[in-house]
């Protein structure tokens, strides 16, 4: 349980500064530090148990089906890293308290920082690969926030984006690697994975797994060739750099390599890849550290170089090399954090980080000068400081490890070269800032920072010296625990300052002397190198990102040219291909059922239908004629339904046809009367071929279905219609009862379409032609007498018919849909004959509520069945006896059908009457002087 708290407390700590925005700076800093400090104490309390050789564990299931569990462990390695993460984190907090300007949003900054700290603790303590990965990604995200903290600065934004891209991409590779690893081992539990090193190395997927995991680790730890993000992350505030690039973020990759060392390292592939990449990184980083003129730039590249050093040691992989790697992790964290803090102090107090503008600061800032010199010496590997010890161990290991076979002598040579460079840049850093005579005045008059701001740095510098002098006493125990966790076995070792005169000592001496010489010759070297063009990694990266974006855009433009015609063409083509492929698989198109004979009526009907369809197409440029042809198609379809025993459909089709054609004619009034000829001949031909081919597939499909006898589920409906639904008209019973839920959905769609059209017509401004295409004015006789009279006479009759059709619908052809359409047609006829104003004065009700009430009534009928503990839309019916009229039947389905009726009437009128209103408002009148009165004019 303690383990959970150690991991959880920093995470909870994120909330403290986030909600403590009202606190003053001092209180806010203290409150923020409280929870991580508590976590640190809790962890220290567990150390005795660790010393007994235990590994502490805590686990609860999170997503068992994925193998993900909330599992934490505390072993030596976790302890080492947690000490760095929490310990240095607290020092950074103290430092940041003084570093940030008072007007900066410190609460936000602390929240990001603690979030980052919590995710690092999570990585160090995760006992499950997937959980580790989750925290891994969390560090990428929170470091993005931290690096981009000064979001008003372009370099901060770009640096943050670059870091996120590189480490995030590495994270994805890592996830793939973890999944493979879990697949090979069969578990994501760390213990199982670590114990099955031999299985993993023997698996054929090992090279891929290793490559993916290393990709993630290298990207995170800024190993060559992914090193370029790190220097650009220096755009972050200095406390962030000091934290991320000394103890935490970049160490995550190192941690991962150390953590998975037992599982992955047992192969030549590991040794070669890791040690060579590390060596390249070490030399590359050291060289550029020497070339940089920006303080933080030097430190950034030296970080890259030291990470390379640790990687080399992990790559060599012998027990002593691992020990040296762990030792250097501690040493590097202490001196590099202190150096970054020093750079921040100089930047803060002198106003610049450029070496050329600094110099002679030892008089103004004596304490900072001493501390920087100590930590700089540790970085250079000067004896008596901690860096010296781990570097000597590196030299010793490169001498004894046969990594490169016959070329193994290269390793110590290259390591010494790295040592030379490291001495040179450390010397330059210290000398140029504090001891060289200044050539320019810095922007601010430099002075010592507040005492407490130097305190973290002083503490770390003291540690550098103490560890350097008494390594065994101060670091021995911790290293023993950590190496046991990595090597899975106790290691017998002895840390000491003096090993006698031997080859590593000679290498150190060479490094020191040659490094000093290199620094002396540094000016000449720079002059010589001026001939080479520097490559700015950021420009290369940004150009790469830009290029990827451009490529994607170009590809998108080719696919998506905003042409509906092309989309439709492609869509139809693809569907044609797939249907054709399916048809091609059929053994024969015709089924076993025999064809029935054709009579004259059928033939005539089919001929007329095809003729009117083709005529619609041929005349489509003359829109009114084409529309008339289309109405013929509709009528013939209605007759087809009647011919093939579907009276309900015929009635529906007929009334819908009337409404559709009226609607299209109204719309045509506002649209051009002719379609210009614009399709080129090849295009028309192409469309003809495509449409023809599609028509043929439709016909083939239809024929294939029609010639096969099919087992239908309709017998159920036929059998149960009367007994279950209380109706004799099976179609209507299906609509209002068996499939009532579908119908409810459909009338909802209808109502929504009506509302959408109402909205589309809102404030529509349209070009109004005053004459037809031939130049003839519209007929001035607006409301013809005969039409007016007939429509008025017809209305009550039509309403009566619709009531009749509605009521009989359950037992005979009819029902809510048809009745609603008939009512709508009658009302629309009146609107046409009399105009919208006249009708509205007499039929004063809005249409939208009618449609919505219809949907609501149908829904309520469905809900009503819940009152009787029945499922939604269960219907009930009964037979009643009334005097004079006799027995009749009532079903709740009738109420549902009433809802359908209302929805259809409301939606149809909403569509047509609203369109009609647009017409009336803009209608051209004979008397152009009185347009306002035209609507009320009666004839």
């Amino acid at each position: 349980m303690t383990l959970l708290w150690i991991a959880l407390l920093p995470l909870l700590g994120v909330l403290v500064p986030a909600f403590g925005a009202g606190l003053r700076r001092r209180e806010c800093s203290l409150a923020t530090a409280a929870l991580p400090a508590l976590a640190l104490l809790l962890m220290l309390a567990e150390v005795p148990a660790l010393l007994d050789g235990e590994t502490l564990r805590f686990a609860v299931d999170w997503i068992p089906s994925l193998g993900l569990e909330l599992a934490f462990r505390l072993d030596g390695l976790s302890l080492l890293f947690n000490l760095l993460i929490l310990g240095i984190g607290l020092l950074i907090l103290l430092y940041a308290h003084f570093y940030l300007d008072p007007d900066e949003p410190y609460g936000r900054f602390y929240a990001y920082l603690i979030l980052f700290m919590a995710s690092m603790v999570g990585i160090a303590m995760a006992d499950n690969l997937l959980l580790l990965w989750v925290f891994w990604e969390l560090t990428s995200l929170s470091s993005f926030l931290l690096i981009g903290f000064w979001s008003h600065r372009s370099d901060a934004r770009k640096g943050a984006r670059m870091a996120l891209t590189v480490t995030g991409a590495g994270g994805l590779a890592l996830l793939a690697g973890f999944l493979l690893l879990g697949d090979i081992v069969g578990s994501y539990e760390l213990d199982t994975v670590l114990a099955s090193g031999e299985t993993i190395v023997a698996d054929p997927r090992y090279p891929l797994t290793l490559a993916l995991v290393l990709l993630g680790a290298f990207a995170k730890s800024a190993q060559f060739p992914f090193h370029f993000w790190l220097p650009h992350a220096m755009a972050a505030p200095t406390p962030v750099s000091a934290y991320l690039h000394s103890a935490t973020m970049v160490k995550a990759g190192i941690f991962l390599m150390a953590r998975l060392h037992p599982a992955l390292s047992g192969s030549e592939l590991w040794t070669l890849t890791v040690s060579l990449v590390g060596m390249t990184t070490m030399l590359y980083g050291a060289w550029f550290a020497l070339m940089k003129t920006d303080l933080k730039g030097i430190l950034a590249f030296s970080t890259v170089s030291h990470l390379g050093l640790i990687t080399v040691l992990l790559g060599i992989g012998s027990p002593m090399a691992v020990l040296a790697a762990l030792f250097h992790i501690i040493n590097h964290a202490t001196f590099k954090a202190a150096l970054f803090m020093g750079a921040g102090i100089i930047d803060h107090e002198a106003g610049t980080r450029e070496l050329s503008r600094l110099g002679g600061l030892r008089r103004a800032m004596p304490l900072t000068a001493v501390l920087t010199t100590i930590t700089g010496a540790a970085m250079a590997g000067v004896p008596l400081f901690n860096g010296f010890l781990s570097k000597e161990m590196l030299f010793a290991e490169t001498l004894t490890s046969p990594v490169l076979g016959g070329l193994s002598w290269l390793m110590p040579v290259l390591a010494t070269a790295g040592g030379v460079l490291s001495v040179a840049y450390s010397l330059r850093l210290v000398h140029a800032v504090f001891f060289k005579a200044p050539t320019q005045e810095p922007p601010k008059t430099p002075h010592e920072p507040p005492r407490l701001m130097s305190a973290p740095m002083a503490l770390l510098a003291t540690l550098c010296v103490l560890v350097g002098v008494f390594p065994s006493a101060l670091a021995g125990g911790l290293l023993d625990l950590a190496s046991r966790a990595v090597l899975l076995a106790p290691l017998d070792f002895h840390l000491a300052l003096w090993h006698g005169i031997n080859l590593p000592l000679a290498m150190s001496a060479v490094a020191l002397v040659a490094g000093a010489g290199l620094y002396a010759a540094h000016a000449y070297l720079r002059r010589f190198l001026r001939g080479f063009k520097p490559v700015d990694a950021r420009l290369v990266f940004e150009a790469g990102v830009q290029r990827a974006g451009n490529r994607a855009e170009a590809l998108l433009k080719r696919l998506d040219n905003a042409s509906l015609q092309r989309y439709m063409g492609l869509l139809l083509l693809v569907s044609l291909i797939f249907v054709a492929l399916g048809l091609g698989k059929m053994p024969s198109l015709a089924g076993e059922a025999p064809q029935r004979p054709v009579d004259g009526i059928l033939l005539t009907g089919a001929a007329l239908l095809m003729f009117s369809g083709l005529a619609t197409v041929v005349t489509h440029r003359y829109r009114l004629i084409s529309l008339l042809m289309l109405s013929m198609v509709g009528l013939l379809v209605s007759l087809t339904f009647a011919r093939f025993s579907a009276p309900d459909l015929a009635l529906t089709q007929l009334s819908v046809e009337v409404v559709t054609i009226i609607l299209l004619m109204l719309a045509l009034f506002f649209l051009p009367q002719r379609t210009p000829r614009e399709s080129s001949l090849p295009r028309s031909l192409r469309d003809t071929v495509l449409a023809g081919a599609l028509g043929m597939t439709v016909a083939s499909l239809n024929y294939a279905v029609l010639t096969r006898s099919n087992a239908s589920i309709s017998d159920f409906f036929l059998d149960n219609s009367v007994s279950g639904g209380g109706g004799h008209n099976v179609v209507n019973v299906i609509l209002v009862d068996f499939r009532g839920f579908d119908t409810l959905g459909e009338i909802t769609v209808l109502a929504i379409a009506g509302l959408a059209i109402f909205k589309l017509l809102n404030r529509l401004r349209l070009f109004m032609p005053h004459s037809d295409t031939e130049g003839r004015l519209w007929c001035p006789d607006r409301y013809p007498m005969i039409l007016t009279t007939i429509s008025q006479t017809l209305l009550p009759l039509a309403l009566l018919v619709s009531a009749f059709i509605f009521l009989r619908g359950h037992n005979l052809p009819g029902g809510g849909f048809i009745a609603g359409l008939i009512t709508a047609v009658a009302l629309i006829l009146l609107l046409i004959a009399r105009g919208v104003e006249w009708a509205q004065a007499r039929l004063d009700f809005p249409y939208q509520p009618v449609a919505i009430a219809g949907v609501g009534l149908a829904t309520l009928t469905g809900l009503g069945s819940w009152l009787f503990d029945r499922p939604f839309l269960t219907s009930a019916f009964g037979h009643f006896q009334l005097p004079l009229i006799g027995e009749f039947e009532l079903a709740t389905a009738l109420i549902f059908d009433l809802g359908v009726y209302l929805a259809v009437v409301g939606a149809t009128l909403m569509i047509l009457a609203n369109l009609g209103k647009v017409t009336t408002l803009h209608r051209p009148v004979k008397d152009a002087h009185s347009p306002a009165t035209s609507g009320k004019e009666k004839r």
């Binding site: 015609q565 095809m610 198609v633 093939f644 239809n702 036929l718 179609v731």
Partner: protein, 116 residues
């Protein structure tokens, strides 16, 4: 009879497809209407073609398949709503963009036509 029916459906849908591929809104709307007729006929025939059948339970033995009928009935009404929406959208597009090209009319002929 079956082949005649299938050919008719095929011809109607081919006409619909051709019109859908046109460049102006009104023919496209008509194409949609035509296509919905064809689709309705197609769906309707899924229950087989019944002559002199019934969907009213009155003791007769020959029944037409009622299920496709019920489905097509709602399809007809929804098809009307869709056509209405498409044509009003076409009007709106013309009102807002000044032409009735399906792509919003970015080539010169459209602009000339609008000016006329």
């Amino acid at each position: 009879m079956e082949s005649l029916y299938a050919i008719t459906t095929g011809v109607l849908s081919a006409c619909g497809f051709y019109l859908i591929l046109r460049g102006r809104t009104f023919p496209v709307v008509m194409g949609l209407t035509l296509l919905s007729y064809a689709v309705n006929l197609f769906l309707f025939s899924m229950g087989g073609l019944t002559t002199h059948g019934a969907t009213i339970i009155d003791g007769k033995t020959s029944y037409a398949d009622p299920l496709p009928q019920a489905l097509v009935l709602t399809a007809i009404v929804i098809g009307f709503a869709m056509t209405a929406f498409a044509v009003i959208l076409a009007m709106r597009a013309r009102g807002d963009m000044g032409n009735d090209h399906v792509d919003g009319g970015r080539n010169r002929e459209d602009r000339e036509e609008t000016r006329r």
